[in-house]
Amino acid sequence: MNREWSDDTGSLRRFGLALARDDRFVLDDASATRLVDKLIRQSAVAPIAEEFPSRLKGRARAFARLIQLYRRHVRRLAMEDVEGGWTEGSGARSGPAVVNGVRALPLELREALLLVVLGGFSHGEATEALDIPMSCLLERLERGRMRLAQHMGVSFDPVRETNWQGAPHLRVIK
């Protein structure tokens, strides 16, 4: 048994399910479960195949691997989806507002927020797992929380909202 990932499989799987279920590619819980189980299996094999070499240890490495695999999966699907003509927010919306709000977040905001809130990572740990600087993580958390609040019908002072509302997320380079 691989001790590094198997000890916290429960929280890793919970994080994966929350991350993978979105409004774009994975529209139902059964598909999300299948995808996450597959990614967790792949993340267990990744160190053997020496994919994603990382200086991270233990739990952080398992989460980072899962994030990397999910990003790769999304990139592949996005490339296939270009011809299909996809529109944002086309997925089925059912469930609590907070769940819909999280699913509607762009991937990079969703993974930062879920890693900290659901995965229980500190900010320092999350920057290492996501391989981003602290300022970038804080910006993502800010944008994620603002969007989520907006989705749940909470508004803050208008100056900050306007600043963040139109901010771009991951740019698609064609």
Binding site: V98, G124, E125
Partner: protein
């Protein structure tokens, strides 16, 4: 102090990433700035809602690179602290939560505005659970444990050719080999069963993750097995016994593990379960 910097502190506060001194300073600011307080309360409510919605236990904190056993202990401590906070009607004294885990304060009393939200969410969750149990309830994990245990025992019975991962007659050597493979110490005491000798152990598929199958053999080369599987915070369930074909089987869940005992007779199964402190009658 710029708005951006204030915001980073707010995120640190909400995610329990500030040290005690920073936290106290920030809380002093919260009393003065109502907009900041409102934002922090909203974010805290978001955090709680996300944890509840996706089935996580509230406020667990882990350290990067620490051994998993320590992480599991930290998680248990955090949950124990939180239960203590929730069961106590009196507010906690300032700083009392920071003595046990000064570097990582994990369990704090929620602000008053969040208390209502938390109890509302707990109520909704309880109602949902009642609805589930009224409609037949979720599957009993002990049934799945017994099925998985019986399958594993069949695969590694005397006629099986698959080798053991750890062939040994020494219970202490087996415990030394198995313990690092579990986040929480597995219940490995009382492996001496009269009339049965320990053969060894093998990692086998469990119900949700890999499990350890410990094998015993009597002088007629009949085998009995004890399967221990780490589970994600299972409820403590007393032993349940049934027969699966020719195999007598019993299973229980306790202390982060699922335990299944399998053997040719009820007496050996009961002896194996008693060794775990799980009764077995």
């Amino acid at each position: 102090m710029t708005d951006r910097f204030a915001s980073s502190e707010a995120h640190g506060y909400v995610d329990s990433c500030l040290d005690p001194q920073q936290k106290r300073a920030f809380e002093a600011r919260l009393h003065e700035e109502s907009e900041l307080r409102r934002r922090v309360e909203t974010w805290q409510a978001q955090n709680e809602a996300i944890r509840l919605a996706f089935g996580a236990s509230p406020r667990t904190r882990f350290s990067l690179g620490r051994p998993s056993n320590e992480n599991a202990t930290a998680r248990l401590n955090a949950e124990t602290d939180l239960r203590r906070v929730e069961s106590s009607p009196a507010p906690r004294k300032a700083g009392s939560g920071e003595t046990s885990q000064a570097a990582r304060p994990v369990a704090e009393a929620p602000p008053p505005a969040l208390g209502m939200l938390r109890w509302a969410a707990v109520g909704a969750l309880a109602f949902g659970l009642l609805c589930v149990s009224a409609s037949g309830g979720p599957a009993d994990p002990r049934d799945a444990l017994m099925d998985a245990g019986a399958s594993a025992l069949r695969a590694f019975s005397a006629a099986a050719v698959a080798p053991l991962d750890m062939p040994t007659h020494d219970a202490r050597a087996l415990a030394k080999w198995l313990s690092p493979r579990f986040a929480l110490n597995p219940p490995l005491s009382g492996l001496e069963i009269p009339g049965w000798s320990l053969v060894g152990a093998r990692m086998v598929p469990g119900t949700r993750s890999a499990a350890a199958l410990i094998l015993f053999e009597n002088e007629d080369h009949v085998r009995a097995g004890l399967m221990i599987e780490p589970l994600d915070a299972p409820p403590a369930l007393a032993p349940l016994a049934r027969r699966i074909g020719a195999v007598a089987s019993a299973a229980a869940t306790e202390g982060g593990h699922g335990i299944a005992a399998m053997g040719p007779s009820v007496s050996v199964v009961a002896a194996l379960m008693r060794g775990r402190g799980a009764g077995g009658d």
